[in-house]
Amino acid sequence: MNILTRIATILGFLGHFPAYALAYLIETLVVIIFGTVAVAGMVYLFRKYMARVQIRVGPNRVGKFGILQVMADGLKLFQKESIMPSGRDDLPYKMAPVIVFIGLMMGFVFIPYGPLVWFGNLTVTHSDVSLVILFALIAIMPIGEILSGITSNNKYAMLGALRGVAKDISFEVPMMLSILSVVIMASANVSNPLDINGIVQAQSIPFIILEPLGFLIFFISMTARASFSPFDMGESDSELVTGNTTEYSGLRFGMFYLGLFGTIFLGSMIISSIYLGGYYGPFVGYFGFIWLMVKTLVLVIISLTVWLTMPRVRIDKFVTFGWKVLLPLSFLQLVVAGFLTLGGIS
């Protein structure tokens, strides 16, 4: 019994259809709130971790251990005056952060969260093509970034957007190909390999063991998608001030900021679902959600460590790397996955 049916049963007096519709809405809302809170928590974790790496203390004034610092910063962003550049293209300029934010938050709905004690299965959506929808949503986010760059009438933002485009086209193809090899392997075991839940269930052996190459490619691509160092050419702060977000302030900037951290979090959840067996672990019926979170946190910490130690890659080198290294390797992974599936190993 999953959480959706539970809520629907409680709302049963409304009739079948309205009860389910309302239950869906409630759960989506809960997931989005969860996403926001998790991302805020990640910002706190990031700041503490960064401080630890850099021999500093980090936030420690607001609340115990500075836990409320992120909330204080968020409130500050709400209060701030939104300064907008003159000569902007008004509607797309205002839409851009919203696109990024909504694309991110919708992504959270399609993750299979797995069961948690008496709540039952926490997954919101059960679609046979949730993988496709998820990646379509992730592909929407760059549109927001590009829009923000070209409409804010600023040279740095423009250059940042151009770099963003060059970056996106060079990693998305390998990313999709490595996903495809996962789908091929999953198709041997389950009937719905395009559903992330199906992929999770197909992993009697986690795919990271069977497809280490695909995992690496996907991890690099997710890093590039989240655009933090070493792939932060889009907003490289020492060259382009802050790239496409240069002209944003207040809440709109906050949306981009949450978009960055949210992508790391969402990306880590996707990777742990696709390659690390998602919510599978001991006592999966009770603690599946916990397992997913543990795996995600490990990945987040790895990402942050990479972020903090790497210098920025030059954009042309990254494009070359994407097309000449990642792409052939992902084709190789595809072929290997095909053979492994034919050989019955999966």
């Binding site: 960064m50 790496v53 850099q54 021999i55 500093r56 250059l159 151009l162 770099r163 160092s229 070493p230 932060d232 050419m233 490289s236 702060d237 020492s238 060259e239 382009l240 001030v241 903090l308 130690t309 790497m310 210098p311 920025r312 890659v313 030059r314 954009i315 042309d316 080198k317």
Partner: protein, 359 residues
């Protein structure tokens, strides 16, 4: 780009002509930190000019003070006691370390590395704490005076410096490995901003920039001042000619500075810490006549001071040969037809301090 831009150190303004991402032409615009230091020095007593030198290269104030004093003491014919010379060497090398550490941190930031910055600045902070203990001030120390220093060294401070030196190389190498063992760092710096030695010489480039191009020119070695001729150290050069070579040379210089410090601390002789001819009550009566030029090796390069005296208590003319200014002049040449990211790396590798460029 600039003058308020995160990658330009201080207040450099660069007019860039871009073709897409490629830099076609760079025109540095300087003068945002101009304080007319040379002219002010001409209106002051010889002993008072030091504070303006502190504020020239504000991350290497000691070296600036020594640069001025070399000229002033030559003009005023005041020889500092032997102990003072050794103390000055110690301070100069400590400050050279501090200056290179600042450079390394800022260079990391230019390339998008946030973390090494803090490692380098932690070490620099230790040096500045030593300075505070010795001279009561962190950066603009105003420690030296004509014919002497403001306060004498004691055993405690020598012990503390030695303690610092004991742990410093390990910490530096650890942070250095973040640079040199990183493939991305190498790919960002290797082969970028190649500076041929002939070009470097014709532009008047000095210091680590020149040595990274393979010219073993170091004033400390070629025209020794203070007691550098009694110390055993090497002049590191590199044949790489690129940004990476400049990085390697600067780190090697830090190792050599540690070597110099270790020798110098053991050899500081006893004696007075100022020349009685230039004690405080007499200082403003010092008169000088003649025309002297003194050069020293500041962390940025050859720092020259030209001092003309007309027999009064104030200099008639003072001119500063600023290494950072000369090194900056090479930037347009180096960043022709490179990407913006490379231009940032190149301008970072020059080690610009605007107090000195603009004076």
């Amino acid at each position: 780009m600039g003058p308020q831009h995160p990658s330009t150190h201080g207040v450099l303004r660069l007019k860039l002509l871009l073709d897409g991402e490629t830099v076609k032409n760079v025109e540095p615009v300087i003068g945002y930190l101009h304080r007319n230091a040379e002219k002010i020095c001409e209106l002051d007593y010889y002993c008072d000019s030091l504070i303006y030198f502190d504020r020239m290269d504000y991350v290497a104030a000691m070296n600036m003070e020594i640069g001025y004093l070399e000229a002033a003491e030559k003009l005023l014919a005041i020889e500092p006691p032997e102990r003072v010379k050794w103390i000055r060497v110690v301070m100069a090398e400590l400050n050279r370390l501090a200056s290179h550490l600042v450079w390394a941190g800022a260079f990391g930031l230019d390339l998008g590395m946030l973390t090494p910055f803090f490692y380098f600045f932690e070490e620099r902070e230790k040096i500045l704490n030593l300075f505070t203990e010795i001279c009561g001030s962190r950066q603009e120390t105003n420690y030296m005076s004509i014919g002497g220093v403001y306060q004498d060294f004691n055993d405690k401070i020598i012990f503390k410096i030695k303690q610092f030196l004991k742990q410093f190389p390990k910490k530096m190498e650890e942070a250095y490995s973040l640079f040199i063992k990183n493939d991305i760092f190498i790919s960002r710096t290797k082969g970028i901003g190649i500076l041929e030695p002939e070009v470097a010489l014709s532009y008047g480039v000095t210091g680590p920039m020149l040595r990274a191009s393979g010219v073993p020119y170091d004033v400390r070695k070629d025209a020794p001042y203070l007691v550098y001729d009694k110390l055993n150290f090497d002049v590191p050069i590199s044949r790489g000619k690129d940004v990476l070579a400049r990085c390697i040379v600067r780190f090697e210089e830090m190792r050599q500075s540690v070597k110099i410090l270790n020798q110098a601390l053991d050899k500081i002789p006893d004696g007075p810490y100022f020349n009685p001819k230039a004690k405080k009550s007499l200082m403003i009566r010092l008169r000088g006549e003649g025309d002297v030029y003194a050069r020293t090796e500041s962390p940025k390069g050859e720092f020259g001071v030209h001092l003309v005296g007309d027999g009064t208590v104030k200099p008639y003319r003072l001119h500063v040969r600023s290494p950072a200014f000369k090194n900056l002049s090479i930037l347009p040449y180096l960043s022709r037809d490179v990407l913006i990211a490379d231009m940032v790396a190149i301008s970072g590798s020059i080690d610009l301090v605007f107090g000195e460029v603009d004076r």
